[in-house]
Subunit: 276 residues, 2 copies
């Protein structure tokens, strides 16, 4: 029915790894200044799920186990009761479409499109609005920040907050404005933390066009979309970035920085805003 | 219009911290066996967002900066263009309802309910289906596992995969069945990784009622819901758990284990399945 199952601990060969990654040229900053290097970053893709011929969902994920993903998702949402309900599941040649033919619960299927509760792990990017408004947007703010200032800010940002120390369970976002004002917020979800910190700044009637966003989580495309929507020119994380994140940042004028740790950081796009 | 803004680095007092947490009694396992201790865990809450009198979204998050959250969210989704479009925003006394009165883009608002793309940070728990099917479900599978076996499995699970080492950007889930079969999957999203691993096992026609799920991310309620839906009796993470996660695990018969690191782990619920 599908590809063979992987029923033991799997380990990918280096050549397989490339399949999920994209090679990019980045600027690596350290004590000796900036160096251009090649680097591989993970590539998330928009996988389309089709159920009995009808497209019902797009999911940003990596193109691996897509058939298992749709099966697990439908089980988990009670649209199917067991794998016995599945007649067929297959993956398109390019890996981006998954088609499943299954006996479904009509009620369960209808509910997929009703109540919308964003889970703690997620938020935003759920609509096409952002896509549309940001399609032709380019953030060309002339604003530059010293590389060492960013690393210094990152160090204090990385001090665990009381709430993190207490629970080990929150993400944090911080917006540092040109005039030195700092807004900080935390949440269980990394998307929520960013929405909150932007909200705080806007509610304080602050102009955030010249600011740097520090985020505790990985920088995937949704984060870059948020920066574009809010015209925040620079975003920094100690964590990794994804390929779609880099692509969007490049196209829309965002300076994207990842792996900012100690005295190093990787500048993926629009490094002109970083003074060395 | 709202509460005063926090425009500088904020630090919560220990008494404030309690506000976001819930005290629970847990069983702490280490080399000396099990000890009952009190512990505080983060409490996510379902916050309801109302726009011009109409409820339009529920978000699982922590009850802090809720007003900023709704403002940031609407800006980010292009439903409002700037904070000038907002006439009023207020938070209900219990902190769980946020009401915003604003001039909105009708098109943007309509789009909020159209296209649904799950972002890499999220997945599932988006519908009411799971809630409904799991409401009266209780996983009472008699299945026990030795505590040290769990810690040993956790050690090998925690070995970074090639893809993680390569990119620093993926979550992992592993399902270890009673017969020793192991299914593993990875994805950018922690929810996706779990859906995939369950899908793999089901597609291999394996019974997962006696299995342990290892997950690299935090265990919030959505993860427990998945375990209940799939009747996986035990779930383990090296990361933190949330209060709603504990509550759901307790009510629905799931053995929930967090902070499983080296020779220690916290057993939050249904410890009867863990042999010491």
């Amino acid at each position: 029915m599908t590809k063979p199952m992987r029923s033991e601990n799997f380990s990918l060969f280096p050549s397989d790894l490339k399949h999920f990654c994209k090679e990019v040229i980045i600027e690596k900053f350290d004590e000796n200044g900036i160096e251009l290097i090649e680097d591989d970053v993970i590539k998330e893709e928009r996988i389309e799920f089709f159920l009995n011929g009808e497209k019902f969902l797009s999911v940003m994920s990596i193109a691996q186990d897509q058939d298992a993903h749709i099966v697990g998702f439908l089980l988990s949402e009670a649209v199917i009761q067991s794998f016995d309900d599945v007649d067929n599941v297959n993956i398109s040649e390019d890996g981006l479409k998954v088609n499943i033919v299954a006996k479904i619960s009509q009620e369960g299927y209808a509910n997929l499109f009703k109540e919308k509760t964003l889970t703690s792990g997620c938020c935003v990017g759920v609509t096409g609005n952002a896509d549309k408004s940001f399609e032709c947007a380019f953030v060309n703010t002339k604003y530059s920040v010293n590389a060492n200032d960013i690393l210094n800010n990152m160090r204090s940002f990385n001090q665990p907050s009381n709430l993190f120390e207490y629970t080990g369970c929150v993400h944090k976002a911080e917006l540092v404005l040109e005039d030195g004002t700092i807004f900080t917020s935390e949440d269980i979800g990394r998307h929520n933390a960013i929405d909150k910190v932007v909200g705080l700044a806007c509610m304080a009637k602050k102009d955030i066009k010249k600011s740097v966003l520090y985020a505790s989580g990985r920088l995937s495309m949704e984060m870059v979309v948020k920066c574009v929507m809010h015209k925040i020119p620079i975003v920094v994380s100690k964590a990794a970035v994804t390929f779609q994140g880099i692509k969007a940042a490049n196209e829309h004028g965002i300076t994207l920085i990842g792996f900012a740790r100690n005295k190093k950081m990787n500048i993926y796009t629009h490094s002109g805003r970083i003074d060395v």
